[in-house]
């Protein structure tokens, strides 16, 4: 487990927290490549609704995912205040459209509580756990399940 390995060396893990609507989420900082402002994306034909299109990231074609729509919430109406979290998921690089980046957290594994028992499998599939930070609830997101890799797609 890479998380465990990281804990051994740093004594904790660093997460990037971001806001989508009125909820807060966080992802492992190691998978985040950069954070940039919103630029209009070129829509893709026949794409699922949460794929906003592709943008030019220094010459690479980067698909942009509306994180809110991806989780089945209200689709975002991107403005210049929105940000794109450029994340590496397996071999691909994708952009995640979120409302704002709120924090960088350093937490120990013990701070992460297991995902509460909820009815929906969908929410459970991407949530790795929840964190209680200063009275806020932050959901730790597993990017692998948000963006399935090739093998899973074939299965």
């Amino acid at each position: 487990m890479t998380y465990a390995a990281k804990n051994l060396t740093t004594g904790g893990r660093e997460l990037i927290a971001f806001r989508v609507g009125d909820q807060e989420f966080c992802v492992n900082i190691m998978s985040v490549r950069e954070i940039r402002g919103w630029t209009p994306a070129t829509p893709m034909p026949h794409a699922p609704p949460y794929v906003l299109g592709v943008i030019n990231l220094r010459g690479a074609v980067l698909p942009i995912i509306d994180f809110s729509a991806r989780l089945g919430m209200k689709p975002a109406e991107p403005t210049v205040r929105h940000v794109i979290i450029v994340a590496q998921v397996n071999t691909r690089v994708v952009g995640l459209l979120v409302d704002a980046v709120s924090d960088i957290l350093t937490v120990a594994d013990s701070d992460i509580q297991p995902t509460p028992e909820i009815a929906s499998d969908f929410e459970r599939s991407f949530a790795r756990g929840v964190l209680a930070i200063q009275g806020r609830m932050i959901c730790l997101v597993e990017l692998d399940s948000v963006f399935p890799n090739e093998e899973r797609e074939a299965a």
């Binding site: 630029t39 209009p40 994306a41 070129t42 829509p43 893709m44 034909p45 026949h46 794409a47 699922p48 949460y50 794929v51 299109g53 592709v54 943008i55 030019n56 220094r58 010459g59 690479a60 074609v61 980067l62 698909p63 995912i65 691909r92 690089v93 994708v94 969908f122 599939s125 399940s145 948000v146 963006f147 399935p148 899973r152 797609e153």
Partner: protein
């Protein structure tokens, strides 16, 4: 660096040597008698043998050795390189290539074929002339016949050990005395060779007396410690032949002046065809005895009749001159002209050119690095375009210094792009050379006599294009020989040369490479093609087709006019596959044929696959790029030309033929309703299936060269979209996959393969 890496380098070099070998042999085949060509061929085989020896590739070594021995006979003028001889040699070159591949990839080779060629090569080396009709299968037994006590089926491949080899050379038994002059050059020492060791090896051949010549040794204060000053005169009494002596110096041969001569007239050379003069260096003999030489060359022809020793000395000088030239390539061609004398112009030019190309230093670079560089330069170009655009937008008064700087930047980036693209550009030569082998093989299989003429081999094109060119070209060459050319009998009956000619040409034309394949065969039998097309329901029985349209029918899938299906071609998967692969490269293919005179296939390909000429169009407020190669014409539809057809289909009439109208925005789901055709522009495109469609777009923005970007790298394949590109404003534009769009318009729906949806 481990052994495998070294081996890999060896195999890369082998490929180069094999190419050199083949081109040399083909030159000889065309009547080139330049000694430097013979030498180049010899050197190629020799280097392969040397390298193979170092890696213990015994099969390769043994075959190369026999080949080399035969080539040595040519080099020393003991064997006239006639067409028949060269046929054997070209086949040997093929086998050598096979053996090299087998050694690299661990495959197996046709052992019988290489053994048979070894026999043939040995027969040639022994002065037996090949059978006039050099029919491979027959030649071997005949060549073998003079040898005693071998029965029919058991003719044995001669083993490759050196001793047996010599056993087959005629003048070996009686010991004879050789006078050897051995003068090492400094290169010999710098390559780690040692004269002492060579001399010690030599002494094992027989009785030897050595005299060291120290005349050239300068005074101590003027001596260069790394130079070579000594030479040796050796008198060797041995029962082994001259070849055995030369074999000692085998790996030092290019780094020394070696002169082996029989002392006196002795018993020598009974079996040789030419009187064995004390040959100072084989090269010189080639010079002196080349037919044209005697006439014009004053110095040498005057010297020739003189005392043999004198001749030997002067010839040795000539030889060493030529050698030095070949090695250093430093001297002007003029000197070659002086020394080589005969056929001065061509020989000198050839030597000069070869010298020049040999002198250009090259490095091997990993292809990935080049690709990365090309990508970065692509970014640079885009970035530069974005920068100029935003400067123009923000600065209306035009600060001249900024604009001038930007203009210079633009010029520089263009230049950088061109030179980086040039790194990937490679001459088409290797592909063309591969074709000559295919022609030989097919000609053998079909019993036709074919001559392949290639032109413009040095035309350069992107490496990926070259790699993908080989397959369709092979297909076409096979077709040309198998279907295009007639049998020799028919050719004679038609009053043509029994030998058919296939001409393969490459040239640059307006930013593209044009490859032409012409045969002088019977041309396309239009009646037969037409009948076949009618039988296969490709056209209506009463269809009225122009000659050109009939000719182009052969590009339809499942079309083959060959009466019987042969091994080579004729399974009907020929030309449509060719056409598709050429189109996949962004190219076009055309045929023109004249009955009785042959057919010409013309392919036009882009110089690179990294950029594409595209038409930038607007569809439902989105910018799309349509590959220019797909577009036949563009037109502004008039309301009267649009006809509804059924519930939702619309046709457009173009010069009285009806063509389905395809709304790109609708197919790509960019809009829900069909656009009004009169407000847009129609692009007439030709697709894979050969059918034409009119693609409806809203407007044409312009024509531009775009850099192709992969969509698959971070996203997934999108049906209807071939790739993406980045426009001057920094936004991503999608490149249309015209074939997929056309297919979708036929009713095969574009399947939205929603990769990302799979998660839900």
């Amino acid at each position: 660096m481990d052994m495998n890496e070294i081996k890999e380098i060896f195999f890369q070099e082998c490929e180069e040597q094999l190419a050199e070998l083949e081109s040399g042999l083909l030159k000889l085949n065309d009547g080139d008698r330049d000694p430097e060509t013979v030498n180049a061929v010899f050197r190629a085989v020799h280097s392969i043998k040397g390298g193979a020896g170092a890696f213990g590739l015994d099969d390769l070594v043994s075959f190369a050795h026999v080949f080399e021995t035969t080539l040595d006979c040519v080099r020393s003028n003991r064997l006239e390189p006639t067409q028949d001889v060269l046929k054997v040699m070209l086949r040997s070159a093929d086998v050598l290539a096979d053996l090299t591949n087998a050694a690299r990839d661990g495959g197996s080779v046709d052992g019988a074929r290489s053994r048979q060629l070894i026999t043939e090569l040995e027969a040639l080396a022994n002065g037996e002339l090949p059978q006039p009709a050099a029919e491979a299968v027959k030649a071997a037994p005949v060549a073998e016949a003079p040898r005693p006590a071998v029965n029919e089926e058991g003719f044995q491949p001669v083993a490759f050990s050196f001793d047996e080899f010599e056993a087959s050379e005629p003048p070996t038994i009686e010991p004879s005395t050789f006078e050897i002059v051995f003068k090492p050059k400094s290169e010999l020492y710098s390559k780690g060779n040692d004269a002492t060791l060579l001399l010690r090896d030599l002494s094992r051949l027989g009785e030897m007396s050595i005299h060291c010549d120290m005349d050239e040794l300068p005074a101590l204060d003027r001596m260069n410690p790394e130079a070579a000053y000594f030479s040796w005169k050796i008198s060797l009494k041995t029962d082994k032949g001259e070849d055995a002596i030369r074999a000692v110096f085998e790996f030092a041969e290019w780094d020394c002046e070696l002169d082996v001569a029989l002392a006196g007239d002795a018993s020598a050379g009974a079996g040789e065809e030419l009187p064995m003069q004390p040959v100072p260096f084989d090269l010189s003999l080639l010079d002196e005895e080349a037919p044209a030489a005697v006439a014009e060359d004053e110095d040498q022809s005057a010297e020739q009749p003189r005392d043999l020793n004198d001749a030997a000395v002067s010839a040795a000088a000539t030889a060493s001159n030529i050698l030095q030239m070949a090695q250093t390539a430093a001297r002007a061609p003029a000197e070659t002209a002086k020394t080589a004398g005969p056929a001065p112009v061509t020989a000198a030019q050839a030597a000069g050119q070869q010298g020049a190309s040999a002198a250009t230093p090259t490095i091997r670079v990993d292809l990935d690095r080049v690709d990365r560089l090309i990508n970065l330069v692509g970014e640079l170009v885009i970035n530069q375009a974005m920068l100029s655009q935003s400067v123009i937008e923000n600065d209306t008064n035009g600060t001249s210094s900024i604009n001038m700087g930007l203009e210079e930047l633009q010029q520089l980036t263009r230049e950088i792009q061109d030179s980086v693209m040039a790194i990937r550009a490679q001459p088409v030569k290797p592909v063309f050379q591969r074709m000559s082998r295919i022609v030989r093989e097919i000609a053998d299989m079909t019993g036709k006599s074919v001559r392949l003429v290639t032109e413009g081999e040095n035309t350069e094109v992107d490496k990926t294009v070259i790699d993908k060119l080989a397959e369709p070209l092979t297909h076409m060459i096979r077709n040309a020989v198998d279907h295009g050319l007639e049998t020799p009998e028919k050719r004679v009956a038609a009053g043509k040369n029994p030998e058919g000619t296939v001409r393969l040409t490459a040239k640059h034309r307006s930013g593209r490479i044009v490859i032409e394949l012409a045969d002088d065969g019977a041309g396309i039998n239009r009646e037969k093609v037409r009948q076949k097309a009618i039988d296969n329901d490709l056209i209506a029985a009463d269809a009225n087709l122009s000659d050109e349209e009939t000719d182009n029918l052969i590009f339809h899938a499942g079309f083959s006019t060959a009466d019987k299906i042969s091994d080579i071609s004729g399974r009907g998967v020929g030309m449509d596959v060719v056409k598709r692969s050429i189109q996949a490269l962004g190219g076009r293919i055309n045929i023109s044929s004249r009955p009785g005179q042959g057919s010409i296939f013309t392919m036009s390909l882009p110089l690179t696959l990294a950029v594409l000429d595209g038409m930038v169009v607007t569809v439902a407020n989105q910018t799309l790029v349509v590959p220019l190669t797909a577009i036949v014409e563009t037109l502004q539809p008039e309301a009267s030309a649009i006809h509804s057809f059924g519930a939702s289909q619309r046709l457009i009439s173009i010069r009285n033929s009806f063509c389905p109208l395809v709304d790109v925005g609708r197919i790509l789901n960019f809009r829900a309703t069909q656009a009004n055709p009169v407000e847009g522009v129609a692009l007439l495109v030709e697709s894979e299936g050969g059918g034409q469609r009119a693609l409806m777009v809203d407007a044409i923005q312009g024509q531009r060269q775009v850099v192709i970007k992969s969509l698959e790298a971070n996203y997934t394949h999108v049906p209807g979209i071939a790739a993406a590109t980045i426009l001057g404003d920094g936004r991503v534009a999608l490149i249309l996959d015209v074939d997929a769009i056309v297919a979708a318009s036929r009713g095969q729906s574009l399947k939205p393969e929603m990769t990302l949806a799979a998660a839900g």
